[in-house]
Amino acid sequence: MQAIVIKELRENLRWLPIGVLIIGVFVWLVTPTGITYTQASSTDSITLSCSMGAALFAVLLGALQSIFDLSDKQRGFLFHRSVSNNEVLYGKVIAGALLYSLACAIPLTCLAFWFAWMGPEYLPVRPAQVIPSVLTCVACFSLHPATLVCIDRPARWFGTRLLPLIAVATSLLMLPLILRSVTTSFGWFSLAIYIAFLVAVFCSLCADHWTRKLLLIVGSAVAVVFCCVFVASCYQSIQNRRTPYVYAQIGLDKTGQLWYYRFRQVRDENGYDTKIVPLSGEPLLANTRPNLEATLPHDFVPSDLSHLHAPGRFEPQNRFASIDYFSNWNTKYLFYDNRGQMLLYDMNAQKQPPFLGVVTKDGFHAPGEMFGPKFTINPFLYGMSLAASLATEGYDRLSLGADQAGIYQFTPKSGAITTLLEMPIESATMLPAVNDDAPRLLLLSKGNFHLYELVDEAGQSNWFEPAPKDRQYVIHRELPPLKLKELAAFPAPPKQLSELASIAMTEDGKFIAVDHVNTSFATLKSSSDTEWQVTRFVSPQSQPEGIDAIASAAVVPIGTLFVFVVSSVVAQIMAGRPPLTQLEASLPSADLMWVMIVVAVVAMLALAACTYWLCQRRGLGRGTTVMWSIASLFLGLATPLAVVAIYPKLVYEECPSCQRPRRIDRDKCPGCYAAWSSAPPVGIELLEGQALASRTDLHLV
């Protein structure tokens, strides 16, 4: 094995500069001297870019190390040795790993040194920022053995050859999600599965190992899901182009009645904004399924519910892949950096890069001072919507922010920051302005709602001016320095609504909350009331029904039944909710339900029959055939693809004795039990010791 490793190292050393170049280019893209200033040098962009380069090189290296072995000559030379096939392949992986780690280490070390040298004075960077990239690079190496498997595996059709690579590449796309959820038990569970999967990828290098089949099944499932999603989205976009999309949602009218209604979005006369045109709907009453086709009252003007944002649900805070969020104050950009700081850039500044400094909870810091109390999450991720109500009234969009520990007011231009409130926050929203009063802030903290009024430093609320009704342009007014004045505290809705997403305050001071899966709502008569009155309802299908529902009933079992149902049920259980809430919400109305069930069952049976036929065609045993047919009920269309990928195609030939087709790779004919008659003699076979005729006297002629 050592000899193989050394040979592979020497042979493929020439690809090392190419690898360094590829990964180096991807790293260079994220330095501020690269292409953009705006997204550059954040840990996320480095990680993303590096892993793209590393993934590319891993596949390239794997292919270059093995593709030449497809030639019979080279294969004969390399594999005919006193070394087992597996040793050759694992030797390739070890050599590949060494080269790959060098190719990753050189640019990343350079980047770390560059960061250390530039320091936080020039750019808000630290050498430690490359560590997440190192981890993702390690994970990306799994593409290398997957490529070796792809090339080593005999497959007639190119598509099925690629299945292991598809499986591994998809697992890499899932990696950020898994790492982000790693504080929950579900996260640890999925991380364990992911690591087991990586081990399986390495095991699958052995040709006869069962993990190779597993890899093919996963690859088939992923490929089928991708295809179905692609087809469905194509269908959807064609459909949308033909008819304007009709949405459905819950809205509130002036009297405080909840409605389920359908609407269409239309561009207004200016072409800048869209406005909502309600089409039809019905009030939400107790235990009903509202009829979306019902006629709306003539004077129905909906006002939307505010969405409560629950930062607590997104723990841990953007450990690996957060989204950079930026605002603009004229030319100044503020980024959230996932180290808990905001970074301030000025695009008009003469200096390059235009880095001005860091904003932490305690205020603005000049470049070089990278310390200070950190935000627990990006305050704008939710603050953005927090200030949305202010923004609709013409105030600056990013003037208010919230994280899990408080509410902050940002002063544009200077980058200064004021902490308005310090308390643990589970969820927050801004209730829209009513009657030209300033919007009010509603916080959920420790099971209680807290209602705040925004007042100026004098404690007055008259600072607020609604936006002019006939505004022709978007204005960005600056907020005056504000304070928060608590108006009321009252209990949060009961547990079944605790994951609530939407809340509204009616003009008469009534509160209405709707849970995020749209199955129940609760009302509170006023802030002094202590009991919420909970009402359950069945949310109607929001999409146009009919042929769509039938099509989706057919597509779901074919493509995504397993992935969709099982993953959603598992996710619900892990989150401590009843397992079927998500599903219930997406079911169609009762009359179409039967059609859908019938179509789904027919599609599943057809698929099982198709799998059974395919297994028979591939000559599998009874047990295996039944197993695959049952599996097709769960795995959908992936099953026939997996069968095609795993088992070689059989060729049939007419049986010379009974004239029925028979497999060429079996000695006995299943019909007549005849063996293959060895080829009919031509009469000129000369085999040792088997004279065709006695040679007596040849001198006759």
Partner: protein, 307 residues
């Protein structure tokens, strides 16, 4: 009668798609023999050799080397087999010495002295890079690498392809040196009939994926005979001759080559010819070519050449 068998195959068949490339092959190769595997390009020689070495799975039937199924050859078995694929593949970036080192570290019984001797016979400088070697030199290095592992069985796929006369001579000498003790076995495919006649003591001929001949060279020669008949060249009447291998036109007469002629054959020939048929001497080449020409025109037994 054949002594200990090194290679055996029973009903060995391989399809590529719907086409049978090797068809129901029964093969027995005794220890100590040098077998020349002959056949046109595409007759299934390389496929057979790759199946024997376990690089290709047979569609049905099986083959064994040293009594072990080719599909499950262990590293110890492989150490006893020397194999050179068609075209004398070597890693171009290695020097001859590095190739030697690589081979030495992956075979237990590598004989450095034997390697040096063989390489010298082909006139090669061990410091040279493989990619700068001529075809003959490459063949030499390739052969030296294989022989130096001291295998008991040598399987060579067209080792003489593209070699100059001097290299061919060196190749033949090397092969004969190798099987000197009478315990080592060689199976080689080739297109050079003269060399096979010299070096091999057994001959196997494949036509259309079928093994039609597998016997000693002398037995093969003795059992193939040819007559010149007074028969119009285009006549299909020859097809009735039992054991007819090939009939071809030669100067207005027809030459028929037959396998294992007996009295019946002789009678059939005498019946066809208007004058007395003339017995021709058959060289090894004639006999092999008679077999190989069949595959060119397998529909008709008559190969219309010359005339």
């Amino acid at each position: 009668m054949l002594g200990e068998l090194v290679i055996t195959a029973q009903g060995l068949t391989r399809y590529f798609g719907r086409k049978a490339v090797v068809h129901d092959m029964e093969l027995r190769i005794p220890r100590g023999s040098v077998t020349g595997l002959l056949g046109l390009n595409g007759a299934g020689k390389t496929t057979t050799l790759r199946m024997l070495l376990g690089f290709l799975e047979p569609t049905r039937g099986e083959c064994q080397i040293f009594g072990r199924n080719s599909q499950s050859l262990t590293r110890e078995d492989r150490a006893r087999i020397g194999y050179t694929a068609e075209g004398h593949f070597l890693y171009g970036w290695m020097t001859v010495r590095q190739s030697q080192e690589f081979q030495r570290s992956t075979f237990p019984n590598f004989n450095n002295g034997l390697f040096t001797d063989t390489v010298r016979r082909f006139g090669i400088d061990p410091g040279q890079r493989n990619r700068t070697l001529s075809r003959g030199q490459r063949a030499g290095v390739s052969l030296a690498l294989t022989l130096a592992t001291e295998p008991e069985l040598l399987i060579l796929d067209d080792p003489a392809l593209g070699l100059d006369p001097v290299s061919r001579r060196a190749l033949n000498e090397t092969l004969l040196d190798f099987c000197d003790g009478g315990q080592r076995t060689i199976l080689l495919s080739s297109h050079l009939l003269d060399d096979v006649e010299r070096v091999a003591d057994r001959v196997a001929v494949m036509v259309h994926g079928r093994l039609l001949v597998n016997t000693t060279v002398d037995d093969f020669r003795e059992r193939v005979a040819a007559w010149s008949l007074d028969l119009p060249p285009a006549s299909r009447a020859c097809e009735s001759i039992p054991g007819l291998i090939q009939a071809r036109a030669l100067g207005g007469r027809t030459v028929v080559t037959v396998a294992d002629p007996d009295q019946e054959t002789a009678a059939a020939i005498a019946r066809l010819s208007t004058s007395e048929p003339e017995r021709l001497s058959v060289t090894f080449e004639d006999a092999v070519i008679a077999y190989l020409s069949r595959s060119r025109d397998s529909q008709s037994f008559l190969a219309h050449t010359g005339a």
